[in-house]
Symmetry: C2
Subunit: 287 residues, 2 copies
């Protein structure tokens, strides 16, 4: 166990340290919530920490940039790492423990076990990022087994990820309650993301158009406009406004992710992924 220079939050780098602390809490009857993150913490993460702080007696924030959820051509190397700043932010939120496992704690030499959630992983982000949900499902299963929290919380920004995690928890009988936190946005509507740090000043001015146009499309669909016409129009407006590529702009069932083509008959969400240069932004809103 160590403490960050800038922080009063204890830091566990090993599984034994994590388990010793958590087992001690549980023996004392305390409830524990895990907030899994890849670091580079922004107000979105901190909003999850605050929900955890209200719901549980003890809050663990894990920080681990998971190589398995990046494809070889993706931004694993460039992904922002700001451990001291993160630790200071978590101290400000009165987090009880930071779990920052060394890479070989998460992936032992020769590790070859993977967890897959087939039904929910093949569409939306699963198409353009086929590695992603396997990597997420494997690391989250492992974090939940390692920490054995009573609850864990994930943001609705990564809505498909949230569903994948709910499914694996149910399917593997993991004894943990999965909570969700709403998307946190800049005043201009841009969903907070660690990847927003990649944006140039000009891209920063374009980025909020994604949410603005999604809201506009949602309004028109709610008013009864033809779904595919609205989505088609919104896609071309996004490209006109400066986005370089649209991976998807689609409506899916909010629980099963079944695609909605013509008519919304159960809770559904509008999902988008779009590129500004080398940066891929995602967003989703309820309809």
């Amino acid at each position: 166990m160590s403490k960050s220079k800038l922080s009063a939050v204890p830091i566990a780098n090993s599984l034994d340290d994590l388990r010793n602390v958590v087992n001690g809490w549980k023996a004392g009857g305390k409830s524990v919530m895990l907030v899994p993150t890849m670091g580079a913490l922004h107000e979105g993460h901190l909003s999850l920490v605050r929900i955890a702080r209200r719901k549980a007696d003890r809050v663990v924030v894990s920080i681990f940039v998971n190589p398995a959820q990046f494809a070889p051509h993706e931004d694993f190397q460039e992904y922002p790492r700001e451990f001291e700043g993160d630790a200071a932010k978590l101290a400000g939120e009165q987090v009880d423990l930071i779990y920052a496992p060394k890479p070989d704690v998460m992936y032992a030499p020769g590790a070859s076990t993977t967890v897959q959630v087939e039904a929910l992983s093949s569409q939306l982000c699963g198409i353009s990022r086929p590695h992603f949900f396997g990597g997420v499902a494997t690391i989250v299963t492992k974090l939940l087994i390692q920490c054995a929290p009573d609850m864990a919380i994930f943001g609705e920004k990564d809505y498909q990820q949230l569903l994948v995690i709910r499914a694996l928890v149910r399917d593997l009988s993991l004894p943990v309650e999965i909570c969700a936190g709403p998307i946190i946005r800049d005043k201009n509507g841009l969903a907070l993301s660690s990847r927003n740090a990649y944006l140039t000043p000009e891209q920063r001015r374009t980025a909020p158009m994604l949410n603005r146009m999604m809201l506009r499309a949602a309004d028109r669909i709610t008013e009864g406009a033809d779904i595919s016409a609205v989505l088609q129009h919104t896609r071309s407006e996004l490209l006109k406004s400066g986005f370089d590529k649209i991976d998807y702009l689609e409506i899916h069932d909010a629980e099963t992710l079944a695609p909605v083509a013509n008519k919304i008959t159960s809770p559904a969400r509008l999902f988008a992924a779009a590129w500004l240069g080398q940066t891929r932004l995602i967003d989703n809103i309820a309809l």
Copy 2:
């Protein structure tokens, strides 16, 4: 919770029942060992139960015929199911709890999460039974999460399965110690298996040749004979003696399962799978 008519062993059919019992034991400081089975219990299973009885304060035997480890053309429907007889045998071994989950406890409607151990699942039985180890890894992960035992035991008869399970426990950080029990054989050398019940009287007379010829081959290899020549000869002797097909007769590293072609330089085992009619027998011995 219910009790079998023929048995004094309590039976849990639901996850809540299982967890209530096990949590009670753990709160009282008792150690718990799980013996996962598909029922149709023979002396091989009972030998594992006896090891568990010696090592742990409380012994849980699970009985679940796992559909996910059978391919569509395999013997899931015909696989022997003898619950009352199994329960009576387990009462004789002073087992503390039988966990006999209903199918929807193990596979909730819509379940689509799978666990795979890639490195160890692609050879030997993984070639002729490509579904098998995925099905095993998924169900065993789930049983270990559900029961949360301190220890679990598996037989060396399914040696590759044992390695797959050790790997997933390590890779997913499951807090359980995996124990192994030696192969139990008939006096004539035939490894006990629930599938031996399929054999006709004539096949029963042929079946022990598998182990006998494996022992002979092992002797010759230990004496320095050429490995591939010995294996080639043994394969043709097995076919002559009445086996209908040899899936494999190969030497592999005892830990990594790396194939051994010419020279044994680390602990290795001779593995075999061979068919008598519709029945597939497997065996393995240390070299």
